[in-house]
């Protein structure tokens, strides 16, 4: 061992380690853009990762069926009973449903926000390994006009924000993460405001939180929460989620609500990135 410490091999290893530490320090300074080596690796590995992810999803579903068959059997029996009950209500709901569909189409985000500039449809390549907040990678990057801090959405609602961009891949931080705060407002009253910000217990259930709500708010269960657009990071009036419950916050001076995101973040297959919209904060301001 003593000989090893005096050998040329040891010096080479120290140089190699210094080189890796140098790369580590350099990567910290890149501010949202991947290192060119990583970007190249991501481009090369993209088809393999896409294919293996598809295989992985199929295997997970098969294993899920295998391991939880008893649970599904019980659930199936219960659901059959529920179907009988629901069928009776179905007729009544049919007319209501048609009306809702009509309204949904009417307020379709694209019609209402003609100022939005979207990328093409972005396929989800895979979720970030073991991330409790369900960050994921998409198959569009800087070459397709994606930049850090661009909002990521589905037709159902806001999903998150771009945090790291390679040439042909980007990483998305979701609204389940405590590191992402979105100014939000009640779509019904347009007065009750709050901040959508994830936390660990909510993220475990695929939910997020609306915090810093005034005590005298008019929020009710089922209310739709939409973006307020005040930060300039997100477009105004985009759906985020529905209120599940509301309770006093631990600080005692405000209320806090649990919200269910409109988009099912744990099962995304494709999303859209909004590259530009009216009221977007200028990049120069960002840098300042």
């Amino acid at each position: 061992m003593h000989d090893f410490l005096k050998s040329a091999k040891f010096k080479v290893l120290l140089c190699f380690l210094a080189f890796i530490v140098g790369i580590l320090i350099y990567s910290v300074t890149k501010g949202g853009y991947s290192l060119s080596g990583v970007s190249l690796f991501n481009t090369v590995s993209k088809p393999f990762r896409t294919a293996s992810n598809k295989i992985g999803i199929v295997m997970e579903e098969s294993l899920d069926k295998f391991f939880n068959s008893d649970e599904y059997y019980e659930e199936n029996k219960r659901l059959k009973e529920e179907i009988g009950e629901l069928n009776r209500q179905l007729t009544e709901y049919e007319s209501l449903k048609a009306e809702v569909e009509e309204l949904r189409e009417l307020v379709s985000i694209k019609q209402e926000h003609e100022d939005f500039e979207y990328t093409e449809k972005c396929d989800v390549i895979g979720y970030v390994t073991n991330d409790p907040f369900m960050s994921f990678t998409i198959d569009k990057g800087s070459a397709e006009g994606v930049k850090p801090d661009c909002p990521v959405v589905t037709a159902e609602g806001l999903v998150g924000i771009i945090v790291e961009v390679s040439d042909h891949m980007s990483t998305v931080r979701t609204i389940l993460s405590p590191d992402l705060s979105v100014a939000a407002v009640n779509s019904r009253s347009n007065k009750d405001m709050g901040i959508v910000e994830g936390d660990i217990p909510s993220a475990e259930k695929g939910q997020s939180r609306l915090i810093h709500i005034n005590k005298d708010n008019k929020f009710k269960k089922g209310d739709l929460v939409i973006t307020s657009g005040t930060s300039g990071l997100f477009p105004k009036d985009y759906s985020i989620g529905k209120i599940l419950s509301i309770s006093p916050d631990s600080n005692g001076i405000s209320d806090c609500a649990v919200i269910e995101p409109c988009a099912d973040i744990s099962r995304l297959s494709s999303v859209y990135v909004i590259t530009d919209f009216t009221g977007k904060r200028a990049e120069e301001e960002d840098e300042n």
Partner: protein, 191 residues
């Protein structure tokens, strides 16, 4: 050491190249598995780096450790280099331990893998979650890090046998059998 004919040397050289190609193919497959699906997954690249380090020299172990670390960083969206530094250091230490103190036993491999993967996951938890003081942050350690650690240890068994298989068939052997020693003595004229 056995004296080898040019043909034997050529075969050995090809075997060695093949061994590294297969090793890196296995490492890439581990990376693909880690980036697939939505479930929690073992950090397969840690047992892979340990398996390479226990059978190779310090330089090749360090390089492979760095590659595995970079792939973990890419898969987990971490700052590029964090795990590369950790695994490089561990790979060199493991390689030295096996060269001077330890024998290539399954139990040794499992203990080392358990320790290294725990350190990797603990540092990940400390720097990416606990340091930022999220509410209920300890749940991430209990429900994510510890589960991933358990999965990693279980999956290390498979990784160990894959690398043992690769080494068994493709690793150059330094020892000689009695027959080979006699044959070498005959070739060199030492009776």
């Amino acid at each position: 050491m056995k004296i080898r004919t040019p043909r034997e040397k050529r075969i050995l050289y090809i075997k060695n190249i093949l061994r590294w190609i297969i090793t890196y193919a296995v490492i890439f497959i581990c990376f693909l598995i880690m980036t697939s699906g939505t479930w929690l997954k073992p950090v397969l690249l840690v047992p892979a780096a340990v398996a390479v380090a226990l059978a190779n020299g310090q330089l090749s172990s360090a390089f492979t450790g760095a590659v595995c670390g970079y792939l973990i960083d890419i898969a987990g969206d971490k700052v590029i280099g964090t795990n590369a530094v950790i695994l490089t250091v561990f790979s060199v230490v493991i390689s030295l331990l096996y060269e001077y103190y330890l024998r290539n036993k399954f139990v040794n491999y499992m203990i080392i893998t358990a320790v290294v993967s725990y350190v990797v996951l603990w540092l990940d938890y400390k720097f990416y979650y606990e340091m930022w003081e999220y509410e209920y942050v300890e749940r991430i350690f209990a429900q994510t890090s510890m589960k991933v650690w358990a999965y990693t240890i279980v999956s290390a068994v498979v990784i160990y046998f894959i690398f043992e298989l690769i080494n068994h068939y493709l690793m150059p052997k330094n020892h000689v059998t009695i027959e080979e020693a006699v044959s070498t003595a005959v070739q060199t004229g030492r009776h």
